[in-house]
Symmetry: C2
Subunit: 345 residues, 2 copies
Amino acid sequence: MSRSIDLAVIPGDGIGREVVAQGLKVLSAALPQDVKLETRNYDLGAQRWHATGETLPDAELDALKRHDAILLGAIGDPSVPSGVLERGLLLKLRFAFDHFINLRPSKLFPNTATPLEGRPDIDFVVVREGTEGPYTGNGGSLRTGTPAEVATEVSLNTAYGVERVVRDAYARANARPRKKLTLVHKNNVLVHAGHLWKRIFDAVGREYPEVTTDYLHVDAATIFFVTQPERFDVIVTDNLFGDILTDLAAAVTGGIGLAASGNINPTGAFPSMFEPVHGSAPDIAGQGKADPTATVLSVALLLQHLGHADEAARVERAVAEDLAAREGSRTTDEIGDALAARVSG
Amino acid sequence: MSRSIDLAVIPGDGIGREVVAQGLKVLSAALPQDVKLETRNYDLGAQRWHATGETLPDAELDALKRHDAILLGAIGDPSVPSGVLERGLLLKLRFAFDHFINLRPSKLFPNTATPLEGRPDIDFVVVREGTEGPYTGNGGSLRTGTPAEVATEVSLNTAYGVERVVRDAYARANARPRKKLTLVHKNNVLVHAGHLWKRIFDAVGREYPEVTTDYLHVDAATIFFVTQPERFDVIVTDNLFGDILTDLAAAVTGGIGLAASGNINPTGAFPSMFEPVHGSAPDIAGQGKADPTATVLSVALLLQHLGHADEAARVERAVAEDLAAREGSRTTDEIGDALAARVSG
Ligand SMILES: CC(C)[C@H](C(=O)O)[C@@H](O)C(=O)O
Ligand SMILES: CC(C)[C@H](C(=O)O)[C@@H](O)C(=O)O
C-alpha cells in the first residue's frame, strides 16, 4: 500500500475533462488523510494535435513513465482523422507501458438500465489482452487509393504474451467465489492464433484444478452476453475480441456511462492506466451532461491496483448506493459531489 | 426465373440432416408445379472425415460446381478438431465458389422471443463480406507448442473485394424503403483495412445520393444492436465483424433457430449456398428437437436468388404466420409439415 500517489492525469478530449475532474474529486475523498496525492496534468489529445501536430512526444512519454499511475479521461475528436489519436496516443501508451492486462469488470448494479428483459444477474470481469493481436499496428496497404489496392492487418500472438494474460485470468478466477474462467476466441477459423490460445489456456488450467473452464467462439459468446450473461464469471480473450465484448457488456450493464477499465502492467515496471471505456462524446461535451461514474469506477480499479483495497471497495459501494438512490437527472458535477460525499461520509 | 432447379444438398452433421429435410419439404411445397426440382445429396462432414480423412475432395467440389445452388444443413462435431471441417469444407466452399456476399437478414417476427425489453422493431440485413478479411487462412505459427511460439493471422483486404460487396450493399439499401446503409469496421485501430473500406464506402456512396449512410466502429455497433436495433436497415461489414454481429443479431431476433443466410455469388459463375446460421448442435441431434425455421428461411433466400421472388415471399409469410400461431412445442418434423402446409395452402 502506497503512502503517496504521484498520479499523471490525461483529461484528453470532449467529456474526458469533465469526468476526470470528478474522478479526482472522488479519489481525494477516498484516500486516507496520510496518503499524499500529487497530480500532474498532461495536455494531450485533439487540441494538442491541432496546435502542434504531436500526439505523444518522447519527452512526455518519459515523464509519464515516472508516475505511479495514470488517469485518463477520453481521447478522440471527429476533427482528427480516425486512428491518429487512437494509435498515436492511447494505444501508444498501452503498448509503451506494456499494459498486457486490460481489465474490464461488468456488473449490473440495482436501479440501472439494461436493455435485457428480466434483469439477469450480471457480474463478470473481462481480462482482455492489451499488447498483441490485431492491435500491434502490423499491416499496411499497397497501391493505396487505387482499384488495385491491397490492405493487410496482421494479428500477432506470442506464447509469451498469451501465457501472461491467461495466468493473470486464472489467478483472478481462482480468487472469486465461482472460480469460473471462459476463454473466448475464434479457433475454428483463426486456427493458428486460436490454437495457441487454447493450448496455453488448457496447460495453465492444469495448475488451477479448482477453476472450472470453458471455451466459446466469439460469435457464440455475444449470444450468451444477451441471453445468459449470468453464466460468466471471468473471461479471458484477445485484444480485439475483448474490445468488442466489453462494449457489449457495458451495453447490458447500465450502459457505457458506467463501464470502467484498467490498463494494467502487473509487474510494476511501468505505470498502469485507468480510464472509462466510453469515448470523448463530443456531442455532449462541456454541457455537464456526462456521467462520471465510469471514471469513478476506474478510480476504484486504480486504488485496488495501488494496494488500497478498502478504499477501492468504498468507492464501489458509494457508486452502488448512488445508483440505487438515483432519480431525476443530475449534472456531471452533482454526481461527482454525491459520490465524493458518500465516499468520505 | 428457372424452370428447373438442380440442387446440391449437404446435410452435414448433427441437426443438419433433420433441418435440411424440412427445408426440402418446404421448397417442394413452394415451387410451382412446372418447376422441376432435382436434388443430389453430398455426404460431407464429420462422419465422412472420420471414415476417409476427406473434407471436400476435388471430384466433389467439381460436381458441386455444376448445380444451380447448394442447400447446407450444418457442419461440425466435437469429435473433429476445431477448424478441420470449418476450413476444409465450409470455408472451402465459400471461397472456391467466390461467395462474396454473405447475406444475413434479421427480423424480429411477432410472437418470437427476444431478450430485449420492449420488443424493438428489428428488420435489418447484414451484408457480410465472404471471401476476404481474417478468413483467408493466411497465417501460421512458428515454434508451435513451445514457450517461444509466435502465431499470426493476416487479414487480407482488396479494393476489388471490398468494392463488390459495398456495391451490392448499396443496391440492396437503395431497393429498401428506408434506404439506409451502415458501414461497420474498426478503422481507428485497423487503419489500413479500415480506411480502404471507408474510402470505397464513401466513393460508391456518391453514386447513391438517396441512400443515407453512416459508419460505426464494431464495438459501438454491438451496443446499438441491443439498445437501438431499429436504427439499422442495411449493414455492410467485413467477414469477421459480420460473423460476430450476425450471431448477436440472431440472439436478439428470436434466436439462432431462426437465423438464415445465403452465401451468394451474384455473378452466377458458381452456385450460391444457403444455410442456417446455427451450428450442428450435437447435444440435441437426432431427437426431433431442432427448429428447422432457419433452414426454411434460408430456402426463401435460395428461391429469391433463383428468381422465384413470389415463392420466396410465400415461404417468409408462412414462417411469420407459423411463428405467430406457435404454442407448445412441436418436433422438427411437425414444424416442417406445418410450414409446408401453409406454403401450399
Ligand atoms: C479507442 C479505441 C482505440 C479503443 C480500443 O479499441 O481499444 C476503445 O474502443 C477501447 O475499448 O478502449
Ligand atoms: C462455422 C464458422 C466457420 C462460420 C463462420 O465463422 O463463418 C459460422 O460461425 C458462420 O457464421 O457461418
